[in-house]
Each structure stands twice: as C-alpha cells, then as structure tokens.
C-alpha cells in the first residue's frame, strides 16, 4: 500500500507554516502515526504535507498556577516519562502509557491526537475530563477553545483552516483515574474512561462510545449510571455490550475518585 503523490514542506516557524497552510490541499503533519497509515491505505490524498515538527518551542511541559501547559509537539513518550506530569497531572502519563506501543509513542504527539479526535483515543478524553483549553494559533492570533467545544463530531474538531494547534492547558485535578478495556495491549479502546475529581465534582469522559468522547458530570454513582448514553456499536460489540462495559468501568473508576 503505497501513498499517493504529495508535496512536502517543513516550515521553520509558525509564520511560515501559516503561509504554507493557505495552499490548496495542505495538511499538517506532525508525528504522522495516524496520518501516514491513512496515506499508505490511500484513505486520504492531500496535495501538500506541512511538517510542523521543525518549529521550536512547541514541546514544553510547563506547570503554572493550578494547571499544566503542554506543547502540542510533545510526544506520547515524553508525556509518559515526564516527572512533572506525574507530579502535577498524573492522568496524562497514565493515559499515554496506553497509547499503542513504544515505537509509536516515540513519534505520535499530543497535538496530533487532539487534532485527529479519534473517538477511541485516550488523550481527547483526558482533555475533556480535565476541562482543558486548547490553544489554536493562526496568522491573525491565538484562539482558545475548551475541549468540550473542540470535539464536534467523528474526526471533526473546531480546528479551522490555517490554524495550528500549538498546545493545551490542563487544569489540575484532586484525583484522577484512567481505565480502558482493550482486547490486546495497545489497541484502540473498546470502551475507556478518563475520570477526574475536583472538590465535589466528578468529571467522567468516556471514549470508544460514540463519535466523540462523552462527558458525564455527576455527584453520585447512580446519577452517573443514569446519564450514560447508549453507545454506538463497533465491529465486534453491540451498543448494549458497550453500555454494559461502560457501566463496569464506571463502577471501577468511581471508587478511585
């Protein structure tokens, strides 16, 4: 499966990137761990790949007041290993460890995962659970969008043409829990749950249940159970199986929050 033909450019600055992104059929390439398979499978045919991994300053991990700002080009491996994140935002390294396999984690990025918005992916659900704010840069300036507003539909986000996701700000949590059910280590989740407790609020972001991660805010377990929407089926699991599994994860996570 060989990719179709495309042009390639590697800007050295965001300004250069913005120019390149104006060209027809331009698409952002970062880690490539989702984009390149889709190219190899001939599922997409962009005309120009804009490789943003050469832009400096986009892979910092910066704890600040009550939150951590993470640059979009941080790789999953960096997230997994980060002592700062383990200290300030343990949900993220815990989730990152579940992403695919080490070789993939060395290249895949936070920004890539958030911008793709695969409904079975870990990091979008974490962003939703933590009530993160995504920072989108464009030539005319930055835009800040909450995770809840960012994930709109199946592989559909609020990222507009000409914008580059440069980072996200994750408010800290009192407690967090990450659970996912997969047939095999590293698979996309059948059903997963990123849970966050802040004071009395419980925020539970389910993934693998629909076209986007689904957020439930609940004060009690019963309330949470009742709020679970009926998930969509996947290749191997009916909606009722997914719902059942979501409930199992909910119960297992609740005790940890």
């Amino acid at each position: 499966m060989k990719a179709p033909s495309f042009a390639y450019a590697k800007p050295r600055s965001l300004a250069e990137a913005f120019d390149l992104l104006e060209r027809p059929g331009a698409k952002i390439l970062a880690g490539g761990q989702s984009l390149i398979p889709s190219l190899n499978l001939r599922l997409s045919s962009p005309e120009l790949l804009v490789d943003i991994t050469g832009i400096k300053g986009l892979s910092k991990i910066e704890p600040a007041n009550g939150m951590v700002r993470i640059g979009a080009l941080c790789t999953h491996a960096e997230l997994e290993r980060s002592t700062e994140l383990k200290q300030h935002l343990p949900l993220i390294p815990e989730a990152a460890a579940h992403i695919a396999h080490p070789a993939i984690r060395n290249r895949g990025t936070l920004g890539g995962s958030l911008a793709l918005a695969d409904p079975a992916a870990e990091l979008p659900a974490c962003a939703l659970a933590l009530d993160a704010v995504l920072v989108l840069a464009a030539r005319k300036g930055e835009r800040r969008v909450s995770a809840a507003d960012f994930f709109k539909g199946l592989f559909e986000t609020d990222l507009r043409r000409g914008e580059v996701l440069v980072g996200a700000e994750f408010p800290k949590a009192d407690k967090s829990a990450f659970l996912e059910l997969t047939r095999r280590q590293g698979d996309y989740a059948i059903v997963g749950l990123a849970g966050v407790a802040r004071s009395s609020e419980r925020r539970l972001a389910f993934f693998g249940v629909g076209s986007t991660p689904v957020l439930i805010k609940a004060g009690s377990l019963e309330e949470a159970r009742a709020s679970l929407p009926m998930p969509a089926a996947d290749l191997y699991h009916s909606p009722s199986t997914k719902l059942h599994l979501a409930r199992v994860l909910l119960e297992r996570a609740w005790t940890r929050l």
């Binding site: 495309f6 042009a7 390639y8 490539g32 398979p37 190899n40 070789a103 993939i104 290249r107």
Partner: protein
C-alpha cells in the same frame, strides 16, 4: 510527477544524500534505495512492528515515517546494530533459545527488545511482554522470545 527532495541522513554511521520522493516512507527508502533489506514490511499500517528501526536513538515504525522526515537524522537498522555488535548478546540468546523461526519479525523484535535492555532496568516477564506487545510474531508463540530477552536482562 513525484516531488522529490534532497535528503541527507546518516545510516548505520554512513552519511547518505539522495533525492527522495516525498511520499516514500523510510523503510521503503532503506530497502529500495540503500539495499538495506533487513527491515521488513508487514503491514504499512504501523501495527505489526516488522519495520521497527532506530531514528536518533529511538525506536520508530519505519513505515510511519517519511524518508524526507529523516533529513538530518541518525538512522540505525538491524544490519548496523549487528555489525556494531550492540545486539550480539541478544542475538546469541535468541539463537540459543530458537526465539525466531521464519525470521521476518526478528529484526523489529530485536530492535524493540534492545530498547528495553538499553535502559539497564530489570524487567519482569509481564514487562517484557508489554515491551514487545507491538511486534507481531506468528511462528514462535512469543515464549522463547520472552525467555531470551529475560535471560539478557536479568543476567
């Protein structure tokens, strides 16, 4: 017409400059252009791990990286790590324990295993299995591979 970019990288210690089609992935480049056929193509989807190589000291899926993205990078393949003897102990353990049969997954498997061995950490069998959980083997059933890696890690 395929757009090509002049790309320079170091492969197994040797500097290499080529005009590379933008769409050619790194393993195809290594195999077709440089004749380094030790890295294998099993799925071109990033799932099977047969293409696992090292770029700038980190293991990556060679099929999920464009060759042009390796511009300015240090690439190491199974041939290089064999000649440098970095994999000698691990290869000997694999050989002794028959941790390979057809050999197609083996270069990628060795790369993945070495990634863990290099850390110098002790690892349990479960951790070893987790480390190679992204490398598909159909012949061995994995146990001999885990045994061989365990032998090298735990001495």
């Amino acid at each position: 017409m395929d757009e090509a970019l002049i790309t320079t990288m170091t492969v197994n210690g040797a500097r290499v400059t080529r005009s590379v089609p933008a769409r050619q992935h790194l393993v195809d480049f290594l195999r077709e252009e440089l004749g380094l056929t030790g890295s294998h193509i099993g799925c071109e989807q990033g799932v099977c791990g047969a293409c696992t190589i090292r770029v700038n000291g980190e293991i990556v899926r060679g099929c999920l990286m464009l060759a042009v993205q390796a511009n300015g990078c240090r690439v190491e393949t199974i041939e290089g790590l064999s000649d440098s003897k970095e994999l000698e102990k691990l290869q000997a353990a694999f050989h002794r324990r028959n941790a390979l049969q057809c050999g197609f997954c083996t270069p990628g498997m060795l790369m993945a295993a070495q990634d863990l061995i290099r850390t110098g950490r002790k690892a349990s069998r479960e951790e070893i299995r987790a480390q190679i959980s992204g490398n598909y083997c159909r012949c061995t059933g994995y146990q001999a591979i885990v045994d061989a890696i365990e032998e090298v890690i735990n001495g």
